[in-house]
Amino acid sequence: MGFHVGIDIGGTFTDFCAIGDDGRITVYKTSTTHYDLSVGFMRGIRELAKRSGFRSKEYLAQVHALRYSTTVGTNALIERSGPKLGLITTAGFEDTIFIGRSRSWADGIPVHEARDIGRIVKPAPLIEPDMVVGVRGRIDCNGRVVAPLSRKDVLEKLQTLVDRGAMGFVVSLLWSFLNPEHERMVKQIIEEEYPEDYLGAMPVTLSCEISPKCGEYTRTMTTVVNAYIHGIMAENLNKLGNELRDGGYKRPLILVHNTGGTKKVSRTKAVFTHNAGPVAGMHGAADLGNLLARRNVVFTDMGGTSFDIGVIVDGELRAHDFLPVVDRWRTNIPAIEVKSIGAGGGSIAWINDLMGNALEVGPRSAGSMPGPACYDKGGREATVTDADLVLGYLNPDNYLDGEMPLDVELSRAAIDEKIAGPLGIGVLEAAYRMRRLVDARMGQEVFNEVALKGHDPRKFAVFACGGAGPTHACGFVPYIGARVAVVPAMAPVFGAFGASTMDIRQVWDISRSIKLFRWDRQAYLDDLESFNHVVRELKDLSVRDLRLEGFSEDRIEFRLELDMRYGSQHNLTKVVAPRLILQGEDDVRELCELFTKLYSDIYSPEAAFPVGGINIECFYLAALVRQERPEFHGEASAGEQPAPASRIGSRSACFDPAVGMVETPVFGWPSLAPGNVISGPALIEAPATTYVIEPGWSYRMDAWRNGVLLQQP
């Protein structure tokens, strides 16, 4: 018996999901231990072992793969606990990272804060201005050396940085993605001055290796972020790796990447781990969508701290069209697009006196410590979980399978003190308003992500995941214009579930400008080798890398994506190339037509302008090695009527404060069978979550034990 284990660390809970070779799934949720993530990690492993009937050591010895989406790097950025770095850039461009790009000071902060221009605060830079030096030497936009690099100048600037306490170097020179010669020379000089066998040896990170793409700000910031979190991540993950090895785990720890795949720790670039948890969830949603023949999916995950939204079109995860933000920094990593807002079970309700005592919920979260008031860890703020508890939706004795008893009196006291009292309303009314407000915020954000990006919400199935997702699905789904929501069987640990089924995948990208269709001659590209050479270059890189991981070339599947645009445009549209290598004009035409079709779909056919020329600006080659995974088999329907044993009782719950608390039937999810239908109002208690079936909704369990929530017309 072996296991595939996925671990997803969130702001409030750390989720675990283990899939056995026999397809049996074991899940566990525990508080995220922000002071040392490995504590929660090892606690979960022990519990998974216990639930599978093994001792930790025996269990770990049988684990095929531990796939982990970590927030160690993100925490290092938030806490600014990285090393003091020196940046070596081209002379004259020393202020690039401080000037930023457009409204870069608003990157990575919630919309309402970004709008408050008067009070917005620029983030503290990861590299202080006095730690940036410019070196003479220049490469032009065609990759030609127009001024040689001065070794003497580099040495002088290097000494300056060392004297100021640099503990590592980032080298980002102009146009290095076209010609990395100067960057490599700088690295060579540093390594000659401070060889590896010296105590003063310091890591050197080159932008041409981390992010060989156009745009000096984003390229530099991607490299800076990577260098900033690299050391801390290496230290933490090595410690965790040692702990796991001591505990009996014999294989390498695998990290989930925000590009939609996984890689060994030893072959991971730090910057690819940021926000990987929701991406793992999206991967799981795409997989499940394929199983359920739902190719268009809106993935939502309501956890304790945030609400994540991702759109899966035609079964495919999509990378960011724009530049993803890591902490407060815009980067150019090919990350899968996931939007997160501060709305979760731990989101704190507050009274906004600047807005006439308006009730607000989030984005601040009570997190895992102290957590909502009902967690009884000293928290006194009123949170969404407190509201759900007061409204009777949550069972205080069965939260997290009874592992964390909740105190409803503390919830009432917090809501009374912080919300009901100031607003002059009752506690029940206040709790109801809190819930409705957070549902509306989430619903509106989902609508924005779908409809405002050119998709028809009616063609999408909403997947409601996360510990609080099933509790709030009936609340936020109507805002999208959808009447159906699917709550996956693994909803409360869906990020971990997604991680446990992920394949090995990495994306190699490079900026290269190629005119596929020339506006001046109205002709297609004839120099096909200019295109094919770039693809072969990326393919060689990926094959070499994956061979080092032990995979033969015949196991690797490739997928080519291209950033394309019409000749005079600024923004780019990502297109999946139908083939890797172009073999004639027909292939070029096919690619151009594909771009025009996609562009027309998103922006309307009137906006398409092929005669203006069609350019490729960036190549992304994804290399995939599929991993073995157990098959999931559906169960036969047991009929609509739930078995009497599944009705485990009833409790008072409020669906309308004007009516007050009404006795509501409670069902036990483990005792329900495929095909069972339950009409609202009803509550279903499942491991690590509670389904709230509001009046006017019905619940049906499908063959894979997923819940299908349907709003009556």
Binding site: S31, T33, Y35, V39, R43, M369, Y375, D376, K377, G378
Partner: protein
């Protein structure tokens, strides 16, 4: 896993263990008064670690006398030798007791010891409890109001201690006579503290000193639903009979019980009482112990 580290996951520790109080010995080794030792975190941490090495103790216990801890909460305390008494009550608790001596020093000492003494030795930190503090600050058993006043400060102190990641924190209570009723308010207070310790993966226990009728007190205190109990002497320093205490603790559902020993007492009886399958029992110091031979001999007996 060693002994005290079993407390946090809720497991029953197995094997023999002795947790002495060595600050008195450490002060003597440094030729200082105990108060001078605990006034300097660096000295305190270094000296206690040295004393533990000298007597080959498996664990280190650090804390301040419950009454002295009241000083951090705003009370005026008079020290006479190893004893202390409150001479002026503030009527209310200060808002940040963790910033004031002696608790500030205890926090710093805990941090230093957590970094330096493990894994060779386990670490237990003692923090004054709500009953003791209420008696010291308000002159009466804790009411709901008193608990409300104390809660935020005590919670933050515990959190700061837990951040240092000792193996266990004991809430140290000292009252003369019978223990207070395990009221829902007091139980809830302990539950909050226990939840915080649990979040940090730190064991949470209760130390009860000054109790009369140990078996009865053990049963009463079990109503607080704390898993680990460490006993002290009664108000006159007399130690409870080991076997009845162990039996009472097992019957009341405690996961572990610490039996106090001191130079001159019948250690063999206590050691024999620890040898039971009904509960995890171990030996602890009854008070500050300076008899090196005694400490070594008990250590040898328990780690035989």
């Amino acid at each position: 896993m060693s002994f005290l580290s079993h407390f946090a996951p809720g497991d029953r520790p197995t094997g023999a263990f002795f947790l002495p109080f060595l600050e008195g010995l450490a002060a003597a080794m440094e030729n200082r008064m105990p108060a001078a030792l605990t006034a300097d975190a660096t000295l305190w941490a270094n000296a206690v670690a040295r004393a533990a090495r000298l007597v080959e103790a498996g664990g280190i216990a650090v804390g301040v006398l419950p009454m002295i801890a009241a000083e951090s909460f705003g009370a005026t305390v008079l020290r006479v030798g190893a004893k202390a008494s409150v001479v002026a009550r503030p009527g209310n608790a200060v808002s940040e007791p963790w910033c004031a001596a002696p608790l500030a020093n205890l926090l710093e000492t805990s941090r230093r010891l957590a970094e330096t003494v493990r894994p060779e030795r386990e670490l237990a930190v003692f923090l004054s409890g709500p009953v003791t503090l209420s008696l010291a600050l308000f002159g009466e058993m804790p009411s709901l109001t008193h608990l409300g006043v104390l809660k935020a400060g005590l919670l933050r102190c515990l959190e700061l201690i837990c951040e240092a990641r000792p193996d266990v924190v004991f809430i140290d209570e000292n009252w003369a006579g019978h223990p207070p009723e395990a009221t829902p308010e007091l139980r809830r207070f302990h539950n909050t503290l226990k939840n915080v310790a649990d979040y940090y993966g730190v064991g949470y226990g209760l130390r009860a000193e000054g109790i009369a009728d140990a078996p009865g007190a053990i049963a009463t205190l079990s109503g607080l639903r704390v898993a680990h109990l460490m006993l002290g002497g009664d108000a006159d320093g007399a130690l409870p009979d080991a076997r009845p205490a162990v039996d009472a603790a097992a019957a009341a559902g405690w996961t572990s019980v610490g039996l106090p020993v001191a130079a001159g007492c019948d250690v063999d009886e206590a050691v024999a009482a620890c040898d039971t399958a009904a509960i995890s029992a171990y030996l602890c110091g009854a008070a500050q112990e300076t008899d090196i031979d005694f400490l070594k001999s008990v250590g040898l007996k328990m780690h035989r």
